[in-house]
């Protein structure tokens, strides 16, 4: 774990507040839908806060600005978390969140580049994101661009062989302009990742594939930003930040619930969930 004393209190508070709003934005979408990937969204919020409010260069009013950093979300079912972050980043209007998953909405259940401003790729079929990141990174290098490519993937997605083809390729071309961020929540559709196709030790595997790998507490914004910065300082290798995250993070009643890929929440529980989220934030910010 990284020494986080270098992250100022002010910056940390800013990150935590952004993560809180991303969680609140995710809850809004989950409530209109009534169910869904809220557990994963709450878990990945600190990562998205670090990327969209601290690390990435972009223009909210110009989502396709040439000099932006690209963030590719492989895991399409995390869409609500990405929309929540794009609202926080002012790429999408807050009011649009309530259209999540509705007919004719720009915010489909699984994220698609053809639907939503600021969404770079269509996720959903897992194992695609890192390969596309390789192509984008090669293209950026051809254009002498200093834009960076991030790819958020899940630990379950590491079971896809194509992810490892891409890992080899990125190292072969020394694509130091790629940072992969693994949301390691240990949960897949059929149950815990370790009971199905364990990918541990993930950090050692990536190192063996020619990457710099750092493993952090993925719900500690200070560790995330320091990890991302350390990886970007490496000019020779692609980097991967393996983030241990907790499904349902920030809402104890969901953290403690049976860990389900597709979580169901009763109608009367949303108010309680929001109250708990605020309560945890206040306690942690003291």
């Amino acid at each position: 774990m990284l020494d986080t004393t270098g992250v100022s209190d002010e910056r940390l508070l800013r990150l935590r507040e952004a993560a809180l709003r991303i969680r609140e934005n995710s809850l809004i979408q989950a409530e209109v839908q009534g169910q869904g990937y809220i557990g994963q969204a709450l878990g990945v919020s600190d990562i998205l806060a670090a990327l969209y409010t601290d690390q990435m260069r972009f223009r909210p009013e110009e989502p396709e600005w040439e000099h932006r950093d690209r963030c590719l979300l492989s895991i399409g079912h995390y869409a609500l978390a990405l929309y929540a972050a794009l609202v926080e980043a002012k790429v999408l209007p807050f009011e649009e969140l309530e259209s999540y998953a509705a007919d004719d909405s720009r915010l489909p259940m699984s994220s698609m580049s053809t639907y939503t401003p600021g969404v770079e790729i269509s996720g959903g079929s897992l194992g695609h994101g890192l390969g596309i990141a390789v192509g984008i990174a090669l293209g950026l290098r051809r254009k002498d661009s200093d834009s960076h490519v991030f790819n958020i993937l899940s630990d379950g997605e590491l079971g896809e062989g194509s992810t490892w083809e891409a890992a080899l390729e990125a190292a072969q071309h020394q694509l130091s302009n790629i940072t992969a961020v693994v949301d390691f929540n240990g949960l897949q559709a059929d149950g815990p990742s370790q009971d199905m196709l364990s990918t541990e030790p993930v950090d050692e595997k990536f190192r063996a594939f020619g990457w710099e790998a750092i493993r952090v507490d993925g719900n500690d914004p200070a560790q995330i930003v320091l990890g991302l910065e350390a990886l970007r300082a490496n000019q020779d290798q692609p980097g991967v930040l393996i983030c241990n995250t907790k499904v349902g993070k920030g809402v104890p009643m969901l953290e403690d619930r049976e860990k389900l890929h597709f979580m169901r929440v009763a109608e009367d529980e949303w108010t309680q969930a929001r109250a708990q989220l605020k309560e945890v934030f206040d306690n942690e910010s003291k």
Partner: protein, 330 residues
């Protein structure tokens, strides 16, 4: 050795030449056409997955090494690289064998390239029955796999002229394209006709009152040859060349179907899901009823062996086309 025993035919190199002896050929038309286009268009990039040499991509690689990417033997990330480069405004031409692009990397082409309608172009060798190596390398169903993919243009060129003229049109057209690449010493046939390749268009190469061949790819060379030989028997055979399988030029096909003739489709592909079925559905939905036969590969995993033997065995040779006409006319 018994002199009366015919010589044993054997599988040749993986991509055996389809050119007959003494035939006019052009060497590596894809590679040279790509270099020509790339000189004018700096967006063009070449990629391959350990098959540059066997897809004529090596010509481009050697002429423009800084515009070529070697993916290694990894077709899924080959498509990822293609996608990312296209997203960044480059125009990739990506080569591998048809079997690997269509069977192994389908999901990546479909969702990452076809769905967002990126301008990415696939030039894939060993289409249909163009190798004696057996099912691992024979892409007998590549069109059937790809025809259901929205946005994708599918090209089945006859010869070196088709390939050379298609490449710039692939580069400049919107959306993804897939070419069933003929490589090596590729026959030159269509320069003898009043013809030029137009993406999305079928072309009547010769008129004929008795029979209409509707063919694509290397089978057009053979339908032309069959037509010439049938003329000696006073059978008047038209040849409609359909180098773009999708989008299908139904208007031109229906125009040719207006005259009541024996209609025979001919393709270097399974009879399932290719040109023949496109013709059949065009006929049915267009309300036209003609006597119709399909020449193509059987719905089977094909045998290994010498290409010439296999073409004879599965009925893709000129003699088989002639017999099919004679047995069904009149």
């Amino acid at each position: 050795m018994n002199p009366s025993k015919p010589p044993v035919r054997r599988s040749g190199a993986m991509s055996a030449s389809i050119a007959g002896e003494d035939q006019r050929t052009v060497k590596a038309p894809l590679g040279h056409a790509l270099v020509d286009v790339a000189r004018e268009d700096e967006r063009i990039i070449g990629l391959s997955a350990d098959l540059a040499k066997y897809t004529d991509m090596h010509i481009f690689r050697d002429a423009m090494p800084d515009r070529f990417y070697q993916a290694g033997m990894a077709e899924q990330v080959l498509m990822g690289m293609t996608t990312g480069l296209a997203m960044e405004g480059f125009v990739p031409f990506t080569s591998t064998y048809s079997v690997f692009a269509t069977r192994r990397a389908y999901d990546f082409i479909c969702l990452d390239i076809a769905e967002p309608n990126l301008n990415a172009n696939f030039v894939c060798a060993l289409p249909g029955l163009t190798t004696g190596y057996g099912p691992s390398h024979q892409a007998t169903e590549d069109i059937a796999i790809l025809r259901g993919m929205p946005n994708l243009t599918i090209i089945d060129p006859c010869d070196a002229l088709d390939i050379a003229q298609a490449v710039p049109q692939m580069a400049s057209s919107e959306g993804p394209t897939y070419m069933r690449l003929l490589r090596g010493n590729v026959p030159l046939v269509l320069d003898e006709y009043d013809y030029e390749f137009q993406l999305g268009k079928a072309a009547l190469l010769r008129p004929g009152a008795d029979v209409l061949f509707i063919s694509s790819g290397l089978m057009t060379e053979r339908t032309l040859e069959a037509a010439k030989r049938l003329a000696e028997d006073r059978i008047d055979v038209a040849v409609l060349h359909v180098p773009t399988i999708k989008p299908f030029d139904a208007a031109t096909v229906l125009r040719e179907l207006a005259a009541d003739r024996l209609v025979i489709s001919a393709e270097n592909h399974s009879v399932v899901g290719g040109l023949g079925e496109s013709v059949a559905s065009t006929m049915a939905t267009g309300g036209v009823a003609r006597k119709f036969l399909q020449v193509g590969l059987p719905d089977q995993f094909l045998e290994a062996g010498a290409l010439e033997t296999l073409h004879e065995r599965y009925g893709l040779d000129v003699d088989s086309l002639i017999s099919t006409v004679k047995n069904n006319i009149g």
